[in-house]
């Protein structure tokens, strides 16, 4: 059984240059994922992303930029312990690959490292999902998708 990698592809009706900006710049990241993003999009640089509004119980998660080749690829590692360098085994690797397609862009996202990090990473991610959806943390630990996903669970991840 291998469920180490999540892979998604989506067509975006915008140029690769625009899509690259949206997936890589901290200002845009804040619009589609964390509440705050603090990092320089430069390979090797480490910053962090923050989940939760000021004054609430916030979660700060390290993020290290791995590769940036506009407008082709952007990758980063995240979820490593705060005092550790991000490497295979202590973090999840997110990679965006962009490919021109017609008048738009084919955007492919992979997130890998679950096998190496084990279930803890999944639990962590699930918590972040909850934060980013603005739902109550405990309410969200429920797996509302289970019924729908169970049928595909065994074969879903290559």
């Amino acid at each position: 059984m291998e469920f180490g990698t999540i892979e998604r592809e989506i067509y975006v009706d915008a140029s690769p240059e625009i899509v690259f900006e949206v997936v890589s710049s901290p200002g845009h990241l804040e619009q589609w994922w964390p509440d705050e993003a603090h990092y320089e999009p430069v390979p090797g640089r480490t910053g962090n992303i923050v989940f939760g509004q000021p004054g609430t119980d916030r979660t700060v998660v390290p993020l290290t930029v791995i590769d940036t080749q506009p407008p082709r690829t952007f990758s980063f590692r995240w979820t490593q312990p705060l005092d550790e360098t991000a490497v295979v085994g202590n973090s999840l690797l997110v990679t965006f690959d962009l490919r021109p397609s017609g008048s738009g862009t084919l955007l492919k996202m992979t997130e890998s490292g679950f096998r190496e990090m084990g279930w803890d990473a999944a639990l962590l991610e699930q918590q972040y999902n909850e934060h980013s959806s603005g739902w109550d943390f405990y309410l969200l630990r429920i797996a509302p998708y289970v019924a729908r996903l169970t049928s595909s669970a065994v074969t879903a991840e290559p």
Partner: protein, 115 residues
């Protein structure tokens, strides 16, 4: 979004949230089953600790016990394991939502540039 809250899911998460229990599950999957004694031979914890962990896994139905001589033999429950995997897959669902937001933002920027 249905709110079919079940304590079971919370318990399921905490059951698999422990590294030793995950190693036990890996071992049981690899060997097709095992006992507290056989597991303790491969893991850096006592047989007593293993027995306690097995009880936790049993409580959330991740393992099934059957009598074998003086010891219980455990194997992984496929259906419950599949549910746990499904919860992992919910990570993928979160990415679907993020990618939809990325798409919306990028397309709206493109439209404003075209216009």
């Amino acid at each position: 979004m249905s709110k079919t809250t079940t304590a079971v899911d919370d318990d399921l998460w905490s059951a698999i949230g422990d590294p030793i229990r995950r190693q036990m599950l890996d071992r049981l999957l690899a060997d097709g089953g095992g006992t507290a004694t056989s597991l303790s031979e491969h893991l850096p914890v006592t047989r007593q600790a293993i027995a306690k962990h097995l009880a936790v896994l049993d409580r959330v139905d991740l393992v099934r016990a059957s009598a074998e001589g003086r010891e219980k033999r455990y194997r992984v429950d496929d259906i419950q394991m599949a549910r746990a995997v499904a919860q992992l897959n919910s990570v993928g669902t979160a990415w679907d939502a993020r990618l939809q937001r990325i798409k919306k933002i990028a397309e709206s920027i493109q439209r404003s540039q075209n216009g």
